[in-house]
């Protein structure tokens, strides 16, 4: 166990320069985009050129790049994530407002995806080249190649506009005063379907491939020869080993739980992190964008670490080095 701790610590220390580099590059890319947070003011007839110069100074936008970056970074070290240029709200509070909504959406997607993908993946591998297997393989390719913005709109048109079964977007019915589980679930159906279909296809393909590899191995034949039932052979012996690649993929997807889905949240008007990022990007709201980028970069680094640790736990052949 001591070995694991030192491995994790070494990896965490190594992540620091990585995150620093990511923040510098992100900041530079944001600054390289023409326009900037005051671009909208230029067209406003009520704002004079003197006002724009004053606002640039008030937001520190007149400073050279390195000064702007160091100011931002210095404040971040002191726990100040800055304030949005557009709304003047603290960035951390803005993220805090959206995080529960994104967790609701993406958490549901995650659970639904795994619940559907694992049985289908196992079933399709155990019946290789059957009609069911062909159907699933074709279906996963189809689902995998459908872009969420297209599928999402299609679902809205079909179930929202044509059939009128489900709401067209948002998280609640307008005017709802208290939490209503049925209402929330109705609003979740279409965005979850859009995202889960893609995720399921992804996971099924991974699981099918690794299951097929495992099923052909000698130790399964041995297990069967011992007289174990097929169910136990598949679920206990094959699935456990075959799930290692899936665990890695699923762990690497964990940051999405917090970061959200940019396009899908936008299409369905879901008030989550993805939409916050979208809105901030259209306004060149650097402090908000940087806040989200820092959170997501940190989560990606941690998820990678978690995947590696889990991998070793599931497969004792892998050693921490």
């Amino acid at each position: 166990m001591h070995r694991v701790t030192s491995y994790v610590l070494r990896r965490l220390v190594g992540a620091v320069p990585l995150l620093l580099g990511i923040s510098v590059i992100s900041f530079a890319i944001l600054k390289a985009v023409p326009g900037g947070p005051l671009a909208a003011y230029e067209a406003n007839p009520n704002i004079t050129p003197e006002d724009i110069v004053r606002l640039e100074r008030a937001f520190g936008l007149d400073q050279p790049f390195h000064v702007q970056y160091l100011t931002w970074f210095g404040r971040l070290l002191g726990g100040d994530w800055g304030h949005s240029y557009a709304s003047s709200q603290p960035v951390l509070a803005m993220i805090g407002e959206r995080l529960p909504n994104t967790l609701t959406l993406m958490g549901t997607v995650y659970v639904v995806t795994l619940l559907i993908a694992i049985p289908i993946g196992v079933a399709t591998a155990t019946r290789q080249y059957s009609r069911f297997d062909h159907l699933v393989t074709g279906g996963t390719f189809l689902a995998y190649s459908m872009p969420p913005f297209w599928l999402g709109l299609l679902l809205i048109i079909l179930f929202g506009l044509q059939l009128r079964w489900l709401p067209l977007g948002g998280m609640t019915v307008p005017g709802a005063t208290s939490f209503d589980l049925v209402d929330r679930l109705r609003h979740l159906v279409l965005p979850v379907t859009t995202l889960a279909l893609f995720g399921t296809a992804h996971y099924v393909r991974y699981l099918r491939a690794s299951m097929l590899e495992t099923i052909g191995q000698d130790y399964l034949r041995t297990a069967r020869a011992k007289g174990l039932g097929e169910r136990i052979v598949i679920l206990r012996h094959a699935l456990r080993n075959a799930s290692i690649p899936l665990v890695t993929v699923a762990a690497l997807d964990l940051p999405e739980l917090f970061v959200g889905a940019l396009v899908t949240e936008q299409i369905f008007g879901w008030p989550g992190m993805g939409r916050l990022f979208w809105d901030a990007a259209t306004r060149a709201d650097y402090p908000v964008l940087m806040g989200i980028l820092v959170v997501s970069a940190t989560l990606v680094v941690l998820a990678n670490l978690a995947a590696d640790v889990l991998y070793a736990y599931l497969d004792p052949r892998i050693r921490f080095a």
Partner: protein, 552 residues
Amino acid sequence: MAMFIFCACAPTATHTAPGGAAIANSGPVRGGTLVFSLWQEPAGLLPNFASQTVAGIVASLVVEGLTGTNSDGSYYPVLATQVPTLANGGVRLLAGGGMDVSYELIPNVRWSDGSAFTSADVKFTWETYLKDPKVITKDGYSAIEQIDTPTPTSVVLHYKQIYGPYLTRFTGLLPKSLEKEADLSRSEYNRKPIGTGPFRITEFVAGDHITAERNPTYRVPDRPYLDRIIFRSVPSREAAIAQLKAGEVDGMWNLLEAQVPEIAPDPKLRVIATAGATVERIELNLAKPADPADPAVRHPVLGDRAVRRALNLATPKQQIIDKLLFGKAQIGTSPVSQGWASPKGLAQEPYDPNLANKVLDEAGWVKGADGVRAKGGVRAALTIMTTSGDKVREQTEQVLIDEWKRVGIELSIRNLPSDVLLSGTFANDPRKRGNFDLVMYASTPGIDPQTTMLRYTTAGIPTTANGGAGQNFTRFANAEADAAIAGASATVDQPKRAELYARALKLLNDEIAIIWLYDRQTIDAFRATVRGPTGSVWLGITFNAQDWWIGR
């Protein structure tokens, strides 16, 4: 899939249509909730801290000022008893070049937090606007030397100099009770401002909705009719239209002209199109394109007035309006299309391609073998820029390529994303650099046209020397126009100002530096059951929300 088990329950309409059948069709109904969708979200609602149009749509339910603007551009009193002018003695010119403006305030007005509205609030508003570095504009406020509050209902503004657009200031007031806030824009009041208007904000859920409830302290009896208006945040105009058609919302903000045919035939829906101040135009660079351009060097093709005249003659504005905008626009005549300063009888020459050909022939532009004219070795080949992805603008470019080819002018397209083309920074914006032949975009003047008119002054030409300040993108320079515009800002005599602006605009149009394509409309849509919205040229659709009600 297991997920579809929730589909069985039918959606129910959420707005509670008030009133029984007995009182239907018998005048305004009191009560009820109206859901209005916005495809952009207000970042904040404090007056003079938000630049977004959509912020005004929500804030105008809550925030009021001393004056408001009618559709014809005339001013009306809101929290003042009358509009101060030279004629009624409300404005007094001083010997030293300054002026005093006096307002009498309506007595017994209360803020939504219950405190009394007094002249001290007007003074506090001014002090805040001067002090806070993050207000949108200090223009006009910094021209005030001192504010006196002789009584709780009278306030006197001492201006250091003549400030023509004085009636456009103080249209959003702040209560003095906010003086305890160190940084107003970061306070909770940016989302829930305290106002004197018919509603107050009770809920602001970012990314989802904003709820405005009836303000119990509102001074007008029996208003508002509605109990509450919920502004729903939707991702796009298309989504808003879908929700409106499906009955999930009762109204939506800001449609495109091309979307009207999708809504207009539905008897359950109602489109409200109001003349707007926004003017779509093609600006012609009078200077030779360079990075940055030197305004002293004439454009080799567009420097010739005959070419500019021919381009305008060969532009089928009405056809563009009818075919691309479904008739929802007016032919443009000037940058000031609405309001008291809008010049009458100022029009550009109508579409006449034959005359265009004749003008170019006479000016010595000779058609070559490829059908493109040339003069002195210079081909009449031009490039047009606009915001990429804008369907109507891109279609307009196609029309112009065909039309202008017929008069021997070759047009090619080089569109840029709006973030670049309209970035407004000297580093990136090709309009500011002067690195273009023709640029098509839209601009909206303020209620007072002074800042818009500064776009047509010599001092407004962006150059390296002035750090790229100013928005005179065509590089139009005319000393007489400069003098007229300067004169208009130095007087409070409105008819005189209108006359001076008209003179400058006439000079601008004589030069044909800009082809005014069309005046855009402001288009909103409602369920047919919603009564009361009328639209306004200068104010958002919600300006009279206290008079809205939901019928049957």
